[in-house]
């Protein structure tokens, strides 16, 4: 494992060197909130943040993405035939992504990269991205990553991990992609692996201790799916829900989408948009029948998918990295930690 240090004085310079080789994305403050945004030349990511308001999932899985284009003009030889469009999959780097958000891409990858089908759009974007993580030493009161298979210094899904040590970053380089990135920036102050590992381990323990909340997931795997589905607690959990899609849109691990055609005059596009299991239209049949017609059914679907169906399907995990965004931004304070504990301890 290779470690280097970056003096914060040479941070801007390194990013400048990267600029031509990568499209750089980083957290930027706007209206009191941080968002991942493409950095202009000379623009620095703002690392003084707890976590970004929205997860960076849209950089690999945009909220609206063009899939195909077509012409409806009958004079056009290829009219009504869908055609692929040219996409920009040049190398890009997500600088300062939190370990929880990086881990989420590994969960989502299971959905988009299957043995039978590969989702080209997601995969190409994912493969062209460098994940330059920023270890988290100032967690929110809604963070529960350590009990969701993740953590403030978690390395899965990262190409390198930046650890803030006052006037410098210690960088743990995790993949060859990460190595190339560092070389391209021209940062080359090698650090002693043993000493670095030790410093990081100490900081990690401190950071993990700060994470005050947790979920219990140990019993989910062996619970009966049908019994949880028929659980008596759903009405109480779902009562407050207003069926907006906030939880699903801010969630780094929610991947559902809708496919729509849009036409302007004689030409059109097929696009995909984020969709949400909170919306009645999500499952409405053409006949008017809806298998998930009530609010309770939709709320149940969301939590069952994350905490049980996913576990059933892949044999591990929960489909959650513990970033806490859905808790912070739910307008009616529905708390996945509470629901997870109820499900885990349900004896029905």
């Amino acid at each position: 494992m290779r470690f280097i240090t970056i003096d914060k004085n040479s941070w801007a310079n390194g990013l400048e060197n990267l600029y031509g080789n990568y499209r750089l994305f980083g957290p930027v403050k706007n209206n009191n909130q941080h968002f991942f945004k493409e950095l202009a030349k000379g623009e620095l990511p703002d690392f003084n943040y707890l976590n970004t308001r929205l997860s960076p999932k849209s950089l690999v899985f945009p909220q609206t993405e063009i899939m195909f284009e077509f012409s409806l003009d009958e004079n056009d030889e290829q009219h009504h035939i869908l055609k692929e469009i040219n996409k920009d999959y040049s190398p890009r780097a997500l600088i300062g992504i939190r370990p929880c958000d990086a881990a989420s891409f590994m969960l989502v990858k299971r959905n988009f990269d299957t043995p039978e089908y590969k989702d080209n759009y997601w995969l190409h974007a994912y493969e062209s991205t460098i994940f330059a993580g920023l270890a988290c030493d100032n967690p929110c009161n809604t963070c529960f990553c350590t009990s969701a298979g993740c953590g403030p210094f978690h390395e899965d899904g990262l190409d390198l991990l930046l650890v803030d040590e006052g006037d410098k970053f210690i960088v743990k380089i995790l993949t060859p992609k990460g190595d190339n990135f560092i070389n391209s920036a021209g940062w080359e102050t090698e650090a002693d692996p043993t000493a670095s590992e030790k410093i990081i381990a100490e900081m990690q323990i401190k950071a993990e201790e700060k994470i005050a909340s947790s979920v219990s997931t140990d019993k989910l795997k062996n619970k009966s799916t049908i019994k949880l589905y028929d659980g008596t607690f759903w009405d109480d959990i779902a009562f407050a829900c207003i069926n907006c899609g906030t939880c699903t849109y801010v969630c780094p691990t929610c991947w559902c989408f809708d496919i729509q055609d849009e036409v302007t005059r004689n030409s059109g596009i097929r696009i995909r948009n984020w969709d949400s299991c909170m919306y009645p239209l999500f499952t409405l049949h053409g006949t008017g029948y809806n298998p998930r017609n009530t609010k309770m059914q939709r709320v149940r679907q969301r939590f069952m998918h994350k905490l049980k169906y996913y576990v059933d399907k892949y044999g591990d995990g929960i489909q959650c990295v513990g970033c806490g965004r859905c808790i912070r931004l739910c307008p009616v304070n529905i708390d996945i930690r509470k629901v997870c504990d109820i499900m885990n301890n349900y004896e029905g």
Partner: protein, 314 residues
């Protein structure tokens, strides 16, 4: 606020014990600072869950739509006005309801308080006029009036307009200028207005929290979900997003009570009330109308006067 809570509990317990109602709709303590969760209580034993403080901004009228049973509902001024609107629009019957009115001194603005501190807020408590905020390495006391939700600051109907029980004595109503921000926009040139709203709406993620938090939005199929014809695209194209917000607001014309639920629910902190307030101002100026004050008057778009203003018509 603890006296409000105990009075609410007392009334609720009595109503359930006497079987006057089957269900109480109120709030329980939230899991994060400055949040409470709307909840229902069906037994006198569970009444202990109910709370009341300055974090009860959700409009509970939203939870009444189409319910069949006998309900007691806790209602601030704005909730009570939306209950009136619900009754007028046949979404609930007056006879089904026992309204526990709460004279309201305003709800606090979570986003505003959060943005005042760099570090995470771990605990927020309140005591009459003061809000105390605690986090790692800081503790600060704020005057509640300085951190109220924008709509609460300019609220002129803090007392419930319709109620069967009261959780506290009625309070004095405020005399305020409600439309300063609207006038500021009205004074802009079309070009300035356009770019003002472009900026305002640019963070929108089309999650529909504003729509769903609104007690007025109960259409079985919202216009954004109509497909034949499809009025508005579903992407985050700025033209579609603007059309959504415009029509959402217009659909609330003459019905909106400025309860602030939309703005409170927005995960991106967009000031979506700026649309509905314009309509509210026009309804007041053109038709002398304020929504939800009386069960006996039809809303402005459901009626007319032969001499309504028409100087804009050729």
């Amino acid at each position: 606020m603890s006296d409000y809570t105990s009075k609410i509990k007392e009334i609720s317990e009595r109503l359930l014990k006497e079987e006057k109602v089957e269900i109480i709709i109120g709030f329980r303590k939230g899991t994060v600072p400055m949040m409470n969760e709307p909840c229902f209580v069906k037994t006198p034993e569970d009444v202990k869950e109910l709370v009341w403080d300055s974090n009860c901004g959700i409009n509970l009228a939203n939870y009444l739509t189409g319910r069949k049973e006998k309900i007691a509902i806790i209602a601030k001024g704005c909730d009570s006005r939306n209950i009136v609107t619900h009754i007028i629009e046949n979404k609930i019957k007056r006879e089904q309801l026992l309204i526990i009115g709460v004279p309201c001194k305003g709800m606090i603005d979570k986003n505003k308080i959060t943005s005042m501190f760099e570090n995470e807020i771990m605990e927020v408590s309140e005591d009459k006029e003061n809000i105390t905020v605690k986090g790692e390495g800081f503790e600060k006391t704020l005057n509640k009036n300085d951190v109220l939700q924008e709509n609460c600051k300019i609220c002129v109907h803090r007392n419930p307009v319709i109620y069967d029980e009261l959780a506290a004595d009625l309070i004095d109503e405020q005399k305020v200028d409600r439309y300063e921000d609207v006038r500021k926009i009205e004074a802009m040139s079309p070009e300035e207005k356009w770019s003002y709203f472009d900026d305002l709406l640019s963070p929108c993620i089309r999650c529909y929290a504003c729509r769903n938090a609104c007690p007025l939005c109960y259409c079985p199929t919202c216009f954004v979900d109509e497909s034949m014809p499809q009025w508005v695209g579903k992407s985050i194209d700025p033209v579609d997003t603007r059309t959504f917000h415009l029509l959402r607001a217009y659909h609330c014309a003459g019905r909106c009570t400025d309860c602030g639920a939309c703005e409170r629910a927005c995960p991106m902190g967009i000031k979506v009330r700026l649309f509905t307030k314009k309509l509210e101002k026009d309804c007041l100026e053109l038709y002398g109308w304020q929504a939800g004050l009386s069960l006996n008057e039809r809303p402005p778009l459901d009626t007319y006067r032969p001499d309504d203003p028409e100087d804009f018509i050729k």
